[in-house]
């Protein structure tokens, strides 16, 4: 049989290529995470065992979300902020309780998101063995933090820079040890120190084998910590839902202030730690729903200058955010708090 | 031909089957005496125990009863005094011809120069001169068998045991190898015990042909082949002897 009879007409060749390419693209897009969520359910992400996120735990357990008519699908817990932001970018999370540093980092990477409310201030700390007297003694010691890009990672950089040190002076293990494992790692001597969120700071203190060398509030009093972030598309399309989330959130914040004892019980349940640890940790966390735009701006500029000075490996560079103020104004959206 | 080199006396070999517990008697009351320098062939139907006997003499199996003595001393395990040549050559594929042939002296602790010399002599003897560096995968069937014979001879064994060594060669190479073997044998005059299916081969090669019964194997009849070397297959005596032995194999023996 002559080849000619079966050969495809020349005009079909580019067409076939395009169809094949399109099929490939479609199949990639049909992978989970590509399609946006249905508006009736809101997917909320949170961090592992993080006492800062107590307002979320309270809102869930006390039914504040349900009161607002929200159907919450809980996503997580994530081991660190950057992982949660990744999920947000991949359309797996609609609303996230996360640290402000990963949030601005994701925003600097052009992930569409908005910071819509605060969750807490302060509440992290550098824990070391009792034998370490000051930050200078951290030289060549093993220090663990959550993943690179987390607040604790950045603030450790700030602390070291303030003491004329940099990340290269310590043996840093970012993201290697899960936050709940950090106290035990310190106890067994696998690490010499760690910078993490409460209540894992308190755990070593209450356990008697560690001490808070530096609390995060000592590095920057009143620093913003966790915030509520909405995925770009979601916020725009579901104004009412976001409003409801914020309303439930404010109720939770007020509840914690008014009923600390019950709040601590809820905290113990979600972090799986006992009352003594929760008690100790509680003192270092300040819950608030307010959002300070200038503080966010300060955080971003700190990250940039730390990267430039070489204290930390650059996470956000000046070229990522050429107009810092414009960037911050795009990212921070306080309109829900003003209602 | 002088003295009794190899004395096989009333050998019985029973194999116990692992499952079922059945036992097979491979050899029963097998006796044979072989003189030094003698060429003896064993022929018999399949399963008559020819290979088993060879293995017993080689020491790779133990007899259930009876004795095998070489130069008056009983045979227990395998050793360099009895050389063994297999049908499928069993050359070591990772060694070249020289290293294969030198294997025996090597494991017996002979120093390198000496064993290289011995190897070269044996290689020359079997007609493989110049192929010492080749590997088994580069050799033809006939060359491989020559190498195997050279290897067996390198230890200067007292008796050469050959288990259908030419069975896997084509007819032309086979006949060539038969002549080669005779030449080698006449050169070093060792006792040879040769197992074969081919009556013609047996008559062509040996001084005596031992016909074995089927399982359990024992000596049926021994024929003397008095023909001078080199033998002609067209010779009348050759042909009638061959017919006789073939007949003896199947039914009656005279």
């Amino acid at each position: 049989m002559p080849d000619r009879v079966y050969a495809m007409k020349p005009v079909f060749r580019p067409l076939t290529t395009i169809i094949l390419a399109w099929l490939l693209f479609i199949s990639i897009c049909s992978l989970p995470g590509c399609a946006p969520a249905a508006p009736s359910t809101v997917r909320i992400g949170y961090l592992l065992g993080d006492l800062h996120q107590l307002p979320f735990f309270v809102a869930q357990d006390k039914g504040f979300f349900a009161e607002e008519g929200l159907n919450v699908e809980v996503v997580g817990p994530f081991e660190a902020g950057p992982a949660e932001m990744d999920a947000l970018a991949a359309n797996q999370v609609d609303v996230g309780y996360v640290g402000v540093a990963p949030a601005v980092m994701a925003a600097a990477r052009k992930v569409p998101l908005s910071i819509v409310a605060g969750v807490n201030l302060e509440g992290s700390g550098l824990v070391t063995g009792k034998d370490i007297k000051n930050v200078a003694e951290l030289k060549s010691k093993k220090v663990a933090t959550p993943a690179p890009g987390s607040i604790q990672y950045v603030m450790l950089g700030m602390l070291l820079a303030g003491n004329d040190l940099s990340f290269s002076d310590v043996e840093l293990f970012p993201g290697t040890v899960k936050p709940p494992d950090m106290p035990q790692s310190l106890q067994t001597g696998r690490i010499d120190g760690y910078f993490v969120w409460e209540p894992f700071v308190a755990k070593s203190v209450v356990g008697g084998y560690g001490k808070v060398l530096v609390a995060s509030k000592d590095i920057w009093p009143g620093h913003p910590c966790c915030v509520i972030v909405t995925a770009g598309n979601f916020g725009r399309l579901n104004n009412a839902t976001v409003e409801s989330v914020i309303r439930a959130h404010r109720k939770a914040i007020d509840f914690i202030a008014a009923n600390p004892a019950e709040a601590k019980v809820i905290a113990g349940k979600w972090t799986k730690l006992d009352p003594a640890v929760i008690d100790d940790a509680f003192q270092r966390v300040k819950y608030t729903y307010s959002l300070n735009r200038d503080d966010v701006r300060k955080f971003v500029s700190e990250i940039i200058s730390l990267g430039e000075s070489g204290a930390i490996k650059p996470i956000i560079t000046a070229s990522d955010v050429p107009d810092l103020d414009k960037f911050v104004d795009t990212v921070v959206d306080t309109k829900y708090l003003q209602r | 031909m002088s003295g009794k080199k190899l004395v096989i006396e009333n050998i019985t070999k029973t194999f116990l089957e692992k499952k079922g517990g059945k036992s097979t008697v491979a050899l029963r009351d097998f006796s044979l005496e072989i003189a030094d320098g003698e060429f003896v062939c064993l022929v018999g139907p399949s399963g008559c125990g020819k290979t088993t006997l060879l293995k017993l003499v080689a020491g790779l199996e133990q007899a259930s009863s009876g004795s095998i003595c070489l130069d008056g001393k009983p045979v227990s395990g395998p050793g360099p005094d009895r050389g063994l040549v297999f049908q499928d050559f069993a050359l070591f594929p990772w060694r070249d011809v020289t290293a294969n042939v030198a294997f025996g002296p090597e494991v017996l602790g002979v120093p390198p120069e000496e064993r290289l010399r011995t190897a070269r002599q044996c290689i020359d003897l079997v007609g493989l001169s110049g192929s010492g560096h080749k590997y088994p995968s580069e050799l033809s069937g006939g060359m491989k068998q020559r190498a195997a014979i050279a290897r067996a001879l390198a230890n200067n064994p007292k008796v050469l045991l050959m288990d259908e060594p030419f069975g896997s060669l084509d007819a032309q190479t086979r006949s060539q190898m038969q002549n080669e073997l005779l030449r080698i044998w006449q050169d070093n005059k060792k006792a040879v015990v040769f197992v074969t299916h081919s009556v013609e081969e047996a008559v062509y090669l040996s001084n005596r042909v031992v016909v074995m019964t089927g399982s359990p194997g024992t000596v049926k009849r021994i024929y003397n082949v008095g023909l001078p070397y080199p033998r002609s297959r067209a010779d009348g005596v050759f042909i009638s002897l061959r017919e006789e032995i073939t007949g003896c194999l199947s039914e009656q023996c005279s």
């Binding site: 390419a21 990744d86 970012p174 | 995968s137």
Partner: protein, 269 residues
Amino acid sequence: MSIQLWIPNIFRGEDTRPLRLISILLFLLIWEGAALLANLPQLFPTPIAVVTALGQLLVSPGPPGVEWAGELMGNTLISLWRVIVGFSLAAVTGVLLGIIIGWWRNARDLIEPVVELLRPIPPLAWIPLAMLWFGLGFKPAVFLIWLGAFFPIVLNTVLGMESTPHKLTEVARTLGAGPWQVLFKVGVPSAAPSIMAGLRIGIGIGWMCLVAAELTGSNSGLGYMIMYYYSTMEAAKTVAGMLMIGIVGFLMFIGLKKLEDRILFWKAA
């Protein structure tokens, strides 16, 4: 795209190189297109971004101890060193144990059940124990690599030893070889092809375990580098790291294959 595309390989005579090149180009084009369409440059990088990232990683300062090598090569060297150590340990212990189990029936009955029990456990599952026993850094990584490489090496060595043709050991014995000589002059050389295959498989698995090992216990190496840039949402550098892992793995495979061909030249000429 004519009927010629569908000719079975065995009928082919001519060179198919042009088609292979087209396949790679097509892949790159689709990748570039899909990435641009997805429009999330920091999560779904274009091929060009990855190449740029590779360039950046080649010149940025390397991890402590190998700053001079640049970030990409420095981390590669660190990972390579871990694999070399882990694999060497696995090769020595694996071949030794394989010889023992494969040669002596009693040893096999004694040791094999334990090996078969542990083998199905994926190296990933050993990570918590590894960190418990060895802490952080070099040691747990080496342990996990050793684990990954060990079992295929043992398995293949046992196979090789067990398949030593009986005729060869019989011949050796008739030539006067004692039991240890039979083991080392016949058993081991006969098993060599199998052992080499086991080593080749072992280093492949060991290299794959490397990433798992480094993800959880180290602060250097290619595996760590990938996780770092995943965290800081610099996907182009993550993919660049993945590419490097693939390239090194491929080179190791080729290297071992060449070695194998050299050692086993005596097989079917």
